[in-house]
Amino acid sequence: MITVRGLTKFFGDTPVLNGIDLDIEQGEIIVVIGPSGTGKSTLLRCINMLESPDQGHITLGGHHVDFDRVSNDDRLTLRRKTAFVFQNYALFANKNALENVAERLIVVDGWPKAKAHARAGELLDRVGLNDKHTAYPAALSGGQQQRVGIARAMAANSDLILFDEPTSALDPEWVDEVLSVMKQLAQERQTMLVVTHEMQFARDVADRVIFMSGGNIVEQGPPEALFSAPKDPRTRNFLRKVLGPQAASSE
């Protein structure tokens, strides 16, 4: 179980996260939705410590961190217990697919290279890239790059994988292959926190959908309940925009 309490983040004087409380069960699949600029990415980046939160605390994989006094060790520990899938894939351009996935095992976990490459190969096979082990990112399609990105996140064997709009930068033709890899991960009960605009994915896969607005969690619940009977007007408004008027007409 992962616990976030009172997570607060300012950029300059502007509050971006206003004390987020969040509990995540082991094996839970959570989808975060909401208008752009409401702090969804910042929430994920704070959990992974790519941003430094200003207040609050987190307990993750038995490690407790107070955000107002974070040591270097805390930062490394939180990063090593989580994994991040980026919107723009962010693969290492100087490493081929296999090396991208194995990098963490070698550098962070200290695995011998042969063992790490064998494991990386298995992961690439699982995301359907059997024939692309030695391809560099520049030679891969967006969909293939993102699947390498997901395999890299899987290599961490982490307590939580954070997905920040993993299909938003993709040409439409590649979206499904990436979503299906994510569904497969979800079936294996990998704990995931996914920011996405793919509402069908949320319906099909999520245990819980969180709606964020203005740096707050406005409403959350099982996808059926949230999509068919949103309580907060902001949620209704947002769903009407993304799903069309008929979909969220609970009035």
């Binding site: 992974n48 790519l50 490394l76 990063r79 994994a83 980026f86 100087n94 963490r104």
Partner: protein, 224 residues
């Protein structure tokens, strides 16, 4: 009346070639030291640790902002006056020192530009998997930055070879110094300096070819 004394040039040519190792030696030593120093300066300029960053900026500004000849005189004639133990600093050492400091200032800027040219998202990805700053530098940033910087650094090496000719003002008998001596005893100035010009030209031309090959190879890396 003949225009050029080709016989003299043919005689001078092998003699001057014998001085080429001194020229190339000074340039290579200067290049190696400058690479090390420039990488350090570049990392300081990227990471910007408070005090050292100011010092690095000042260093770069000074050595880019003053002529190499002035710097060479400063080290060869000036330093020994300031520090007794340097009285015996010889021309070759002073030249290598001057080339190192002067060119490292320029090279630092191109290495810095190459480092910041690596897109930020790769840095974040490396941090997100739990790499430390130094692992990130060694395994992700520097290998890619090197590729970007190599062509420019080769230009500086070529520039440095030509700049070694200033060493003759410090009494070093390298290519230029040897030519100067020969010319003033034979009075065949045009022939002598034309011969040395051809030697520099051929060396630089060869290096440019190598540079092109390297560039082609580097451009192909990471593409398949």
């Amino acid at each position: 009346m003949q225009i050029l004394d080709f016989g003299y040039m043919a005689e001078l040519f092998p003699y001057l070639l014998g001085k080429l190792p001194i020229t190339l030696g000074m340039a290579s030593a200067g290049m190696l030291c400058a690479l090390v120093l420039a990488s350090g300066l570049a990392i300081v300029r990227v990471v910007q640790p408070p005090l050292i960053n100011g010092a690095a900026k000042l260093f770069i500004s000074f050595f880019r902002g003053t002529p190499l000849l002035v710097q060479l005189f400063l080290f060869y004639y000036g330093l020994p006056q300031l520090i007794e133990s340097l009285v015996k600093i010889d021309g070759v050492t002073a030249t290598i020192l001057g080339l190192t400091l002067h060119f490292s200032a320029y090279m630092a800027e191109s290495i810095r530009a190459a480092i910041v040219g690596i897109d930020r998202s790769q840095t974040e990805a490396a941090l997100s998997i739990g790499m430390t700053q130094s692992q990130l530098m060694r395994r992700i940033v520097l290998p890619q930055a090197t590729r970007i910087a190599v062509p420019t650094l080769m230009n500086y090496f070529i520039d440095m070879i030509k700049s070694t000719s200033l060493a003759f003002t410090l009494g070093v008998t390298e290519l230029m110094g040897a030519t100067q001596k020969e010319a003033s005893s034979s009075f065949l100035y045009f022939e002598a300096f034309l011969t040395v010009a051809v030697i520099y030209w051929v060396v630089v031309e060869l290096l440019s070819r190598i540079q092109k090959l390297m560039e082609r190879k580097l451009n192909k890396a990471y593409q398949r």
